[in-house]
Symmetry: C2
Subunit: 230 residues, 2 copies
């Protein structure tokens, strides 16, 4: 176990100042599946995850869910608090977690007074934008099987560590979660994953997906519908 992850929001700051900000933050301990904030409510604070994991989820009028993002330690969420906006998603802890909160007013003053922090926010938003652009690309062009492979691999190498038996996603990801990430039905996802498990390409350990054969799964991404090759 390493120490807490570096906090992106405070990257590159004078350590002393960063320390004082940390002291001003409200610390909150969360069990698994606790609601941190809900879509539509006024954004009261900027949040940073210290440990554990969380997901940002939207629910459509007709009941379908979309996971916008998984949050891991060090990452910001709830940035609309900087603009007196509303939270655009539900935030829910995935495992037992710890988060920090800075109330809107405070963090607005801090950001206004310290440009490097503003740039850290901008950096985070740019990265998230790239990520969403990538998802739009994939949803537009790739079949379910490839989207599944991509999403799984992405999570392994962004969040996961290389264990003995392959790469493991360090928090629980249910079939339904995958469905909410790639936009398909539970049935299709289940069938596909089941096939991969049968071929020992993936496994599960305590609700956590484990990619046993990274290369095999990666190869799925290179076998597109034969036509599109232009």
């Amino acid at each position: 176990m390493s120490g807490d992850a570096a906090i992106g929001l405070l990257a590159g700051l004078d350590p002393e100042f960063a320390g004082s900000l940390l002291e001003q933050a409200e610390r909150r301990i969360l069990q698994a599946d606790e609601v941190i904030f809900t879509e539509g409510s006024p954004a009261q604070a900027v949040h940073v995850l210290v440990s554990g994991a969380a997901r940002l989820v939207q629910t459509t009028p007709d009941g379908a869910r979309v996971i916008i993002k998984h949050v891991i330690p060090g990452e910001i969420f709830g940035s609309p608090a900087l603009l007196n906006g509303s939270y655009p998603v539900d935030a829910v802890s995935v495992t037992d977690s710890v988060e920090l909160q800075w109330p809107s007013q405070l963090i607005q003053d801090v950001v206004t007074g310290h440009p490097p922090i503003a740039l850290n926010v901008i950096r985070d938003l740019e990265v998230r934008l790239r990520e969403m652009e990538s998802r739009v690309r994939d949803l537009s062009n790739e079949p379910v099987e490839q989207r599944l492979a991509r999403t799984t691999l992405r999570r392994v190498d962004k969040f996961g560590g290389q264990g003995p038996g392959g790469g493991e996603i360090p928090f629980p990801v249910s079939r339904q979660d995958l469905v909410d990430l790639i936009g398909c039905t539970l049935h299709t996802a289940s069938r596909t994953l089941q096939a991969w498990e049968a071929q020992r390409q993936i496994r599960r350990r305590r609700r956590r997906p484990v990619v046993a054969d990274v290369d095999a799964v990666a190869k799925i991404l290179e076998a597109p519908s034969p036509s599109k090759q232009k």
Copy 2:
């Protein structure tokens, strides 16, 4: 014809200071379909569109295109220049246009020295993030017909004015453009739009889509696949 659109990047600034920034910008006149910058090249400047329209496009390895965003007067693009990143998209003018550029170094200094500008950037990125989240939602849940209706209506009321015969998108949008926005084939899009034209719900004027019967098109969004109703 009204004057130039308000520039989001400079919103809320002391007019005098805004003026001096405008003077420091490089002005560039563009014909239709000129390349402003290309995906992958180092971001050398933050851009603002003054008049006309532009599109931000990505091309996937297998040749498919995705339109990430249409840019209209007043909007920023190329913000990765703030972080010494690379442009993540191609930017191309859609019509004859005028844009302003601030070189990376200059704009970085300005942003660092003037927090309100940083907040304007953050605001813009948040809005774009919401937009992309919305597209992921739609791609995940809606059939082509609804995505088509939604995209068209969105463009009419974000970019368009109410003309005599309905809402018109103020720049050319080809079938292929629509395809690149919603992720389907030219064939499917063509068929659907053709049907709407036959019913006089939409029209075209000089390559620009015109929604003749906004209500009729809006109604398409409310008729989901009967099941999903939860």
